[in-house]
């Protein structure tokens, strides 16, 4: 089966006065049909910018400077703005992090849904309203007909995120990019939303890129996981493999910093130091300053190694007996 999305050597830079800021640096990955991929990393690792790059929504001074983004075989980077608009919301939808901010406060929920239907399909207002109502029902919003006339401030955070998901589902897209959609929500609401999204993605056969800094969420949801650090993917593979037997020291560092993963009574081991400033990244492996396993060779760029369905960029990967 051809993958839904194939990103090749994507680089998105921000042109600042102090030079080009490499937010996304030579990133390649694929998302297969119906596949759920988790994109994990710290703040500033470039995971959200990767998502926005796919949709062509990087704000200036940011710019995709290199690469290919093949969506069902077509390069999105070569498309005209008008053609790109017909893809956004129709074939690829996005869900944002903060549901309090993603809905326009002065337009009713109905208006914001109907316009999404009518932006892509030539249908009557009544039909668009009907479809919007069905979508609201689908994501578990009670009495959707009445809720269409409500305004965003009349919804709770979790309900607003459900509305955003309903909007993303309106056109049954091939791919949904979810940018930390549960981060701003209460834990109980989080798991509900997670469950709903997973159910709906399965039901409609949609592929999903789930951007998160929360390993626990990704573990519960994704088929595959990609770990990003300083604009690059440092490790990628199947979720169970990556989380139980991480090869890259950064991935293992992330895992031993998660409270739930560490046995009770044992101290958490935070990764020492800070992520490097995107303006002054060390040459070679960007993680070497914080890495216990680093040697002189890490000053040169580690190549991508592919072994047993696992990809990683490291000269000194962890070795596991099974591998």
């Amino acid at each position: 089966m051809t993958p839904v999305l194939e990103v090749k050597n994507l680089s998105t830079h921000f042109m600042t006065r102090r030079g080009a800021l490499k937010a996304v640096d030579d990133v390649s990955f694929t998302v297969g049909q119906r596949e759920i991929v988790g994109l994990v990393g710290e703040s500033g690792s470039g995971k959200s910018i990767t998502g926005f790059s796919i949709l062509g929504l990087v704000d200036p001074p940011g710019r995709v400077v290199n690469g290919q983004i093949l969506f069902n075989g077509d390069d999105l980077l070569k498309m005209s703005p008008a053609a790109m608009r017909t893809i956004r919301g129709k074939r690829i939808a996005m869900i944002f992090q903060d549901p309090m901010m993603t809905l326009n406060p002065v337009l009713s929920v109905g208006t914001q849904m109907i316009e999404t239907v009518q932006a892509h399909d030539r249908v009557s207002r009544a039909e668009a309203r009907q479809r919007s109502r069905d979508a609201l029902g689908l994501v578990g919003i009670p009495s959707p007909e009445e809720r269409l006339d409500s305004y965003p401030h009349q919804f709770s955070g979790g309900m607003r995120q459900r509305v955003a998901i309903a909007i993303a589902l309106l056109h049954r897209p091939d791919l949904i990019i979810a940018d930390e959609p549960t981060t701003a929500l209460d834990v109980t609401i989080q798991s509900q939303i997670l469950f709903e999204i997973k159910r709906l993605a399965g039901e409609f056969g949609m592929a999903l890129i789930w951007i998160s800094h929360d390993l626990g969420v990704v573990a519960a949801l994704a088929d595959r996981i990609m770990v990003m650090y300083a604009g690059r993917i440092v490790e990628a593979g199947r979720v169970d493999g990556v989380l139980t037997e991480p090869r890259h020291p950064y991935t293992s560092g992330l895992l031993s910093a998660v409270p739930a993963a560490v046995p009770r009574g044992e101290p958490l081991r935070p990764i020492p130091g800070f992520a490097p400033s995107p303006l002054s990244r060390p040459s070679g492996c960007a993680f070497r300053d914080r890495c216990a396993r680093a040697t002189d060779i890490c000053a040169t760029e580690p190549m991508l190694e592919i072994a047993a369905g696992r990809e990683f960029r490291c000269f000194h990967p962890h070795l596991w007996s099974a591998a």
Partner: protein
């Protein structure tokens, strides 16, 4: 909504009473109109008679309560100078001022909003720089000087437009206005521009700031991610949000435009209410000054009320009276 209107109405009455007291005492303190009205060679007996006929011999509090009692019966007093009801004088002049102010406001909005949008959508472009520089002139050059320059250029040098008066008036639906004749319109253009230049700059800047603040917000990006056209994003998503501060400020400014059209009316000899006020203050014509201020305060209250209603229409988070 009904509760809101009633509450607002009671508040308005309180404001009117307080204004009346302040204005009445203030104008009493300025000077004695008898000095202005009575000929210097009048005999003490004649003098006493005039003072008594105007009620100026009574103590301040009694004068005020007489005024207040009459005001409750719709009589705001007779002008000392014209010997006519002051309210009639004001309503005679008010339409001219309203016409001038509203034309100026429309001018400021019709030009200001598109220019502000243009500027805000392409920040730091050449267009933006030109518009912003222009608006600095609108802000900083004094209104009277702008007025004189307009007359200089368009009336004296180019001879295109008349510089004084209201011109010929037409009648439409029972309203007399300069708007309905060509001659009247040519008379209206210069003073309306003069009055609107400052507000134009204000509207441009408000709109620009609004666009600049709204465009980077998540809901704009989300609208893009939904595939909404850029046009709809600007004119529906962004514009409706900008309208909120715009309505607030314009409401306040409309009142001040009405009240302070004085400068423009003086320069262009526009027979409006502002000129009447200046003349009345000079002659210490108390009833006209008091009536004028009460009318202006009422207008302010009315405009603010309209603003609040508009506000609730534009911003669903502000629903008047709470429960729907």
């Amino acid at each position: 909504m009904t509760v809101f209107v009633i509450r607002r109405f009671l508040q308005s009455i309180a404001v009117l009473i307080v204004t009346a007291v302040i204005v009445f005492i203030g104008i009493y303190a300025i000077g004695d109109p008898a000095e202005m009205l009575i000929a210097p060679d009048a005999s003490p007996a004649e003098r006493a008679q005039v003072v008594a006929s105007l009620g100026l011999d009574k103590p301040l509090w009694e004068q005020f309560f007489t005024f207040a009692w009459n005001a409750l019966h719709g009589d705001l007093g007779r002008s000392f100078v014209f010997n006519r009801p002051s309210i009639a004088l004001i309503f005679e002049r008010l339409p001219a001022t309203l016409e001038l102010t509203l034309t100026g406001l429309v001018f400021a909005l019709v030009l200001g909003i598109p220019l502000g949008l243009l500027s805000g959508l392409k920040p730091n472009s050449a267009t933006d720089e030109v518009i912003m520089t222009g608006s600095i002139f609108g802000f900083s050059l004094p209104s009277f000087w702008q007025g004189m320059m307009l007359i200089m250029i368009f009336s004296v040098w180019l001879g295109w437009l008349p510089s004084t008066g209201r011109g010929q008036m037409g009648e439409f639906l029972g309203i007399h206005s300069s708007l309905f004749t060509l001659d009247g319109l040519t008379h209206l253009i210069l003073p309306a521009i003069n009055l609107s230049l400052f507000k134009l700059s204000l509207v441009i800047r408000l709109t620009r700031t609004g666009v600049r603040e709204t465009m980077p917000l998540d809901f704009v990006k989300f609208a893009r991610a939904k595939g909404i056209s850029e046009r709809r994003i600007v004119f529906v998503h962004v514009f409706k949000n900008i309208l909120i501060p715009l309505i607030t400020v314009i409401g306040l400014e409309l009142g001040s435009m009405l009240a302070f059209a004085v400068v423009t009316e003086t320069i262009f000899a526009w027979p409006g209410i502002g000129k009447l006020l200046i003349d009345s203050i000079m002659r210490l014509d108390r009833p006209v000054v008091v009536a004028y201020l009460l009318v202006i305060v009422s207008l302010f209250i009315f405009i603010n009320f309209v603003v609040d209603v508009l506000y609730s229409l534009v911003d669903p988070r502000v629903r008047l009276g709470g429960a729907q």
